[in-house]
C-alpha cells in the first residue's frame, strides 16, 4: 500500500510540476498556432509545388514544408500523403512529407524545446529535414520502376493557387511572437522592471505545503511546484471549463463563454510571465520585461484577429480547441504514467544500456521507439525521463526520431497506401537513419566539433549513395529473381 501511494504520488507530482512549468507559456500559444496553421494557411499555396511535373529540386523541399506547415494533424497527414503518392510528385516526396511531419510541426518543436531544451529541438528539426529528404530520395530510387507505372492521370489535384491573406499572416506571426516572448531565456526578458510587495502572509506557508506535496530535487529531475505554479494550474482548469462552454460549438457561433475563455487565456499568459516570490511577510510580485513583451504580442494577436472574417477566426478557434481536446488528455495521462514509472526504473539500468553514445545504445533506443507506442507528443516527456535517468543525448535523439515515425499505427496507415514491401523498406531505412542521427548528435554533444560531425555526416551519405549505386548496378545486370519485370502494384 505504501509503495502504491508512493507511485501515485510520483505520478501526480510529475503532472503538477509539468502543468505549472511547461504547459502555459509553451503549449497554450502552441495550440493556438497549430489551430491557425490548420485553419488559415491555404493548402494550395504549398501543394501546388507537389504536382507531378515539378522538378525534384522543388518538390522535396516543398514536401518538407508541407510536413511542417500543413500537417499538424492526421486529418491532413493521411490524405496529403496518399495524394502526393498517387496523384502528385510521387513516392519520394510523399515519404519526405511523412517523415518530416511528426518532428517538424510547430507543436512538436515548441514542446521539445520547452522540455528538453532548444538544442534538442534544433537537432531534431535539422536531422529530420536532412534525413527525411534522404530517405525520400532513397525510396524513390529503390522503387523507381514502380513510380513510373503509377496511375498517370491529370495533375488537377495540385494545380490550385493560393495565397495567405495579410491578416492571417499577421495573426500567425503575432502568435509565434507570443510563444517566443514567453519561453525564450533572455536577460532582457527576465529583468525586473519594478516590483511590489503584496501583504499575503499565508504565501510562505502555502509554498512549504506545496514543497511537501511535490518534492523538489534537481538531481532527480523533480521540478516542484511554486505558489505561482499552483495558481496557474487553477487558471488552467478555469480556462478548460470556459472553453468547453464557449468553443464546442464555435463553428456555428461565438457566445459569452468564448470571450471568457479567450480573456482567461490571455490573462494566464500575462500572469505566467510575472515572477512571484514568497517573502517573510507576504508575496513579492515582480513585473518583468517578459510581461511587456507578451502583452505587446497579445495586442498584435487581437489587432490582426479582429480583421479576419467571422468564419475564418471561428475556424481558427475550432481547430485550436480540437487540438487541445485531442492532444491534451493523452499528454496528461502520459505525463502521469511517466511520473509513476520513473519511481520504478533504476538509473543504473539506463546507464548500462544507453549511458554512452555507441552503436548498441543507439540500436536499443531505436528498438524501444519501435516497440513502444506513445500517443502524439508523449514521446517528449518520456525522453525527458530518460535524460534525467542518465541516458546519453545521442541515443535519446535516435529514440526521439524513431518513435513517432515508426509507431504501429503509422506503419499500418503507410502500408494501406503504398503496400507492405515498400513499408518494410521504409521502416528499415528509418531505423538505420535514426541510429545514424543518434550517433552523429551524440558525437557532437561529446565535443566532436562541427568539422568532424560534418565529416561523419558526409561519410554516412557517401556510404548510402554507394549502396544505392550497387543496388542499381545489380538491378540492371541481373533481373531480380522474384520480380523480373520490376514490382507491379
Amino acid at each position: 500500500m505504501g509503495t502504491f501511494l508512493h507511485l501515485v504520488n510520483g505520478g501526480l507530482g510529475n503532472l503538477a510540476a509539468y502543468l505549472a512549468a511547461h504547459v502555459l507559456l509553451c503549449l497554450l500559444p502552441a495550440f493556438f498556432i497549430a489551430g491557425a496553421m490548420a485553419a488559415l494557411i491555404p493548402k494550395a499555396s504549398v501543394t501546388r509545388w507537389l504536382g507531378r511535373k515539378t522538378s525534384p529540386r522543388v518538390s522535396y523541399p516543398a514536401a518538407a514544408a508541407a510536413g511542417s506547415l500543413l500537417a499538424v494533424c492526421s486529418c491532413t497527414i493521411v490524405p496529403l500523403f496518399a495524394g502526393i503518392y498517387t496523384k502528385g510528385a510521387g513516392l519520394g516526396p510523399a515519404i519526405t512529407f511523412l517523415f518530416f511531419a511528426p518532428a517538424g510541426n510547430v507543436l512538436a518543436l515548441a514542446y521539445t524545446g520547452s522540455i528538453l531544451g532548444p538544442e534538442f529541438a534544433a537537432a531534431r528539426l535539422l536531422l529530420c529535414l536532412v534525413f527525411g529528404i534522404g530517405i525520400g530520395l532513397l525510396m524513390a530510387i529503390l522503387f523507381r520502376q514502380d513510380d513510373a507505372t503509377r496511375d498517370a492521370r491529370t495533375d488537377a489535384l495540385f494545380a490550385g493557387e493560393g495565397s495567405m491573406e495579410p491578416a492571417a499572416l499577421g495573426l500567425l506571426l503575432a502568435l509565434i511572437a507570443a510563444l517566443v516572448a514567453g519561453t525564450l531565456k533572455l536577460a532582457v526578458l527576465s529583468a525586473t522592471l519594478f516590483s511590489i510587495e503584496l501583504p499575503l502572509p499565508f504565501a510562505q506557508s502555502w509554498q512549504s505545503q506545496l514543497l511537501e506535496w511535490v518534492p523538489f530535487d534537481a538531481a532527480k529531475g523533480e521540478e516542484g511546484v511554486t505558489v505561482q505554479g499552483s495558481l496557474l494550474i487553477l487558471l488552467l482548469v478555469l480556462i478548460g471549463a470556459a472553453a468547453w462552454q464557449g468553443l464546442e460549438n464555435i463553428t456555428e457561433r461565438a457566445n459569452r463563454w468564448t470571450w471568457i475563455a479567450l480573456g482567461l487565456a490571455a490573462a494566464t499568459l500575462l500572469f505566467a510571465a510575472l515572477r512571484l516570490t514568497p517573502t517573510a511577510g507576504g508575496l513579492e510580485l515582480a513585473v518583468t520585461g517578459r510581461v511587456l513583451a507578451v502583452a505587446i504580442a497579445l495586442w498584435a494577436v487581437l489587432h490582426f484577429g479582429r480583421r479576419l472574417q467571422v468564419d475564418r477566426w471561428q475556424a481558427w478557434l475550432w481547430e485550436s480547441w480540437r487540438f487541445v481536446k485531442q492532444v491534451f488528455p493523452l499528454l496528461v495521462v502520459g505525463v502521469f504514467v511517466v511520473g509513476v514509472v520513473r519511481q520504478v526504473i533504476r538509473p543504473e539500468w539506463i546507464e548500462s544500456l544507453a549511458g554512452t553514445n555507441d552503436l548498441l545504445a543507439n540500436a536499443v533506443a531505436v528498438l524501444f521507439g519501435v516497440f513502444m507506442y506513445f500517443p502524439t507528443l508523449v514521446e517528449v516527456p518520456v525522453a525527458r525521463m530518460f535524460l534525467d535517468l542518465g541516458m546519453h543525448p545521442g541515443p535519446l535523439l535516435a529514440y526521439l526520431m524513431a518513435d513517432p515515425e515508426l509507431s504501429l499505427q503509422s506503419m499500418l496507415m503507410v502500408a494501406a497506401v503504398i503496400g507492405r514491401r515498400k513499408t518494410a523498406a521504409y521502416v528499415a531505412l528509418v531505423a538505420l537513419f535514426s541510429m545514424s542521427a543518434g550517433l552523429l548528435y551524440g558525437a557532437w554533444v561529446d565535443g566532436a566539433g562541427i568539422a568532424r560531425t560534418a565529416l561523419l555526416l558526409t561519410g554516412f551519405v557517401a556510404a548510402l549513395a554507394g549502396a544505392v549505386a550497387w543496388v542499381e548496378r545489380r538491378r540492371e545486370g541481373v533481373p531480380h529473381p522474384l520480380h523480373p519485370r520490376g514490382e507491379q502494384r
Binding site: K43, C75, G83, T251, V417
Partner: protein, 78 residues
C-alpha cells in the same frame, strides 16, 4: 433521395461534420442517406487533400473544414 457522403478516416472533425450535416438535413426536412467513406484512395479520387470532406449527390461541396448548418442547408437545397 439525397446521398450525403462524409469523407474521412474517423477523426474528430469527421464526426463533427457528420453531426452538423445530419442536423442540417433534419431541420431542412431533406431525406438523406448518409455514407461514411474511409478508404483513402477513394477520398483522394474526390480531389480531397484534407479531411473531412462533404459530398452531396456525388459533388464535393467542402473539404478541410467544418461548414455551418446554414451552409449545408443551402447545398442540400441546390
Amino acid at each position: 433521395m439525397t446521398t450525403v457522403k462524409i469523407l474521412g478516416s474517423g477523426c474528430a472533425n469527421c464526426r463533427k461534420l457528420e453531426a452538423v450535416a445530419r442536423e442540417a438535413a433534419a431541420s431542412a426536412g431533406v431525406e438523406a442517406e448518409f455514407v461514411k467513406v474511409t478508404d483513402m484512395k477513394t477520398i483522394v479520387d474526390y480531389g480531397v487533400l484534407s479531411t473531412p470532406g462533404l459530398v452531396i449527390d456525388e459533388k464535393l461541396v467542402s473539404s478541410g473544414r467544418i461548414p455551418t448548418q446554414a451552409e449545408v442547408k443551402q447545398w442540400l437545397a441546390a
